[in-house]
Symmetry: C2
Subunit: 209 residues, 2 copies
DNA sequence: ATAACAAGTGAATCACGATTCAGTTTTTGT
DNA sequence: ACAAAAACTGAATCGTGATTCACTTGTTAT
């Protein structure tokens, strides 16, 4: 008898797996899921195509995991912003601005997470992602209603409207293509974000801040 | 010498072309652009695959035209709703409700027009479509600002937020898949639409209607 | 050193759908 | 009826990219 899996090997395997994940992530960040090819991921991770399949069930499985990781990051950031002390409208404004700013900094990834059409298995992850967001915003909105800083409303619905308004105004008409060609200067970006957040908060509170 | 193109033939050709367009339209309505295959369109129009290429440059060209037609229909409806007499907020509320109701009645098509990712040539059409919408809503918002029924704002941006909020709340989380499996009863649909429009108008005016 | 097994390789294969095109049918004017 | 010109047909081809697998290399225990 011989070869027994050892700690060293387990570590090395995990590293390769991680490198593949990182490279896949980079591919998506750069060109979205559409342009993410197994061959490219393999090349940039410096492994053979076949190796990908030693670490992941399929392309879909790999990218589902990439999606999950990217998503978790964003949701955590939003959760963090919402966890600060203060009245609900202020916390929401902060979180929305953060969400918008991050989407703007990485529009391709934002588009990929929010709207880009993808394989069913990845789409499932998107549902989870959306639910996670909805829950964050919903909770804050419900806090606001409870403390009287927001009028009564269907928190689930309005949280969805928030995400839609931001997503569309950031990655819709000012779409991926345009983003690459004409990057806005920072001050205009900030102004745009302020306006979008203004609209959203007004939609929630019925009043200008 | 012989065959000279005759009126009869020109008509017949136009009919075939139209039948292909109609069937392609039906395909998109049913399954979005993603699932629209040339072979299927041909089959349902009862022509050979090759015939499609006698009438259209390419698959992209065919679907670009389908997109244009579907789009024009929607934009016309919105334009009509906005053309009624009255104060801007009321006209906008009517138009938004109409937009939402139509999207809800045909969610797959709505998704295809608003957000489904597609070939570049079709994407170009989408840009035109979005501009057409933006122009309609923008004009109404600017009317409102002028007549004092809306506070000063960046009409372009807010009109985009409107579309995003509606699109996301109708075809996002309550996505194509879900729509098929659990169709809402009419009264709840109406209620949902009212709430969405409420959020939007509040976002514009800063006040409940 | 060697046996036993796992991990890695990448060219070959497969899947899928758009597109082509040689052959067939239809239409038209004489 | 016939020849010229389209229009139609659909099986074959092509392109693209995921997936496989026979083979090579690396690792471990004896």
């Amino acid at each position: 008898m011989a070869y027994r899996e050892t700690e060293k090997m387990r570590t090395r395997k995990a590293q390769v797996r991680q490198r593949i994940l990182d490279c896949a992530f980079a591919c998506v960040r750069q060109g979205g899921f559409q342009s993410a090819q197994v061959t490219q991921v393999a090349a940039s991770a410096e492994v053979a195509t076949g190796t990908i399949y030693r670490h992941f069930e399929s392309k879909e499985a790999l990218f589902a995991e990439v999606f999950r990781i990217a998503t978790q990051r964003e949701v955590d950031k939003v959760a963090e912003a919402l966890a600060t002390p203060g009245k609900a409208p202020d916390r929401l404004a902060t979180a929305l601005a953060l969400f918008a700013a991050r989407a703007m900094r990485g529009p391709t990834m934002a588009w990929a997470l929010i709207a880009e059409p993808i394989a069913p298995k990845v789409e499932e992850e998107r549902l989870i992602y959306r639910k996670a967001y909805a829950e964050q915003f919903e909770r804050a909105i419900m806090d606001g209603v409870a403390e009287g800083s927001l009028p009564a409303q269907d928190a689930r619905l309005t949280s969805t409207c928030l995400v839609g308004a931001i997503a569309e105004s950031l990655v819709g008409p000012l779409s991926p293509t345009q983003q690459a060609s004409n990057p806005l200067p920072d001050d205009l970006k900030q102004q745009l974000i302020d306006q979008i957040v203004g609209f959203c908060i007004q939609g929630l509170t019925g009043a200008r801040r």
